[in-house]
């Protein structure tokens, strides 16, 4: 297991370097710093839940890789709606938490919620794309999606979480 963990660590250090590149901004606006673990975590969870469901459908034989497949479309839709549900709550939570911890947020309420929601929707779409691709590749190569797809998707979504948060922060803050 150790070689796999080392490779995943190198991937995660990539996202760490992205985080390091906007460290000054994160330290200036603690609301953004508060958003980091929860955004990474939720992105990884959206991906891993979707991957687990697709793996199960795949093993049950109810999944076909056609754009018209109800199973694929329904799961993709649920992922995006889940993001639209939880990310505004994440934004509100991060803003309130910053207020409590630091005594005064440097960013307005609307900005923090907007950053969280925009990051969330973008991440949900990316998570769907990454999970579909990984599941399809595993299927083509005859690998068990349970073994391969979930760790790959979780760690890729972790990295994307940081990259998307960085991009959205540059646009909106």
């Amino acid at each position: 297991m150790l070689p796999v963990l080392f490779v995943l660590t190198l991937v995660e250090l990539g996202s760490g370097l992205v985080l390091g590149s906007f460290e000054a901004q994160l330290l200036q606006y603690p609301s953004l710093l508060v958003l980091v673990p929860v955004t990474i975590g939720t992105a990884g969870n959206l991906g891993s839940i979707l991957a687990a469901r697709l793996s199960t459908s795949f093993h049950l034989g109810t999944l076909t890789f056609s754009p018209a497949d109800d199973e694929l479309a329904g799961n993709a839709l649920a992922t995006v709606v889940l993001a639209v549900t939880v990310f505004p709550i994440i934004g509100v939570g991060a803003w309130v938490a910053t207020l409590v911890v630091t005594g005064g947020p440097a960013l307005p309420f609307s900005t923090v919620v907007l950053v969280a929601l925009s990051s969330g929707i973008t991440l949900a779409v990316l998570a769907v794309f990454v999970t579909f691709t990984a599941t399809y590749v595993a299927y083509r190569f005859g690998l068990d999606p349970d073994d391969v797809v979930i760790p790959v998707v979780t760690n890729v979504c972790d990295v994307l979480g940081v990259v998307v948060l960085f991009a959205v922060a540059q646009l909106l803050v």
Binding site: G16, V34, I40, G41, G74, N75, T79, V101
Partner: protein, 193 residues
Amino acid sequence: MTVRDVAVEAYKEALPALAASLVGGLIAGVVLGGMRAELRAVPGLLVLVPALLATRGNVYGSLGARIATALHQGLIDPYVTGADERLRAAATAALANGVLTSTFASIMAFFLLTFLGSPVAPLPILVGIAIVAGLLSGIVLTVVVVTVVFAGYRRGRNPDTIVGPLVTTTGDVFGILFLLIAVRTVLAIAGVF
């Protein structure tokens, strides 16, 4: 099933787990937001954060999955007392994997940042933080995973569905909390010399 049926079922199934990890993630964020002084004092620490958090999830998620499978197969009993040889071996292996991977992350982060010409704390400081944080969070996460999965199993819950949300939630919280404790400990020790 129509697209709508699939979506509604997937949504209902995922929401509780997401909500639990959301709370954990926000608590971790609050601790991270409160350690800005430490992040300034140890350049390169922020670069390590995603790798350390992911290691907690990967290592202890895998430990939880192994315990769940062993319970299903009847290889271990869901009681901690008189701890089973298999359980002890799996927990020790997880702890070793966690500490080694954290150490590897800190060494690689040091060399990457040095190579890129970015400011970075001395290697012994980063390695010390990674080892202390990896060890402390590993011990607590092992205890939490074993205790909660056993308790859930004894109450008739499927351990497979407990492990994921449990590890993502507690992994983030304890990962960051022990990172803060490790930074303070290592800086205090370094200040003595």
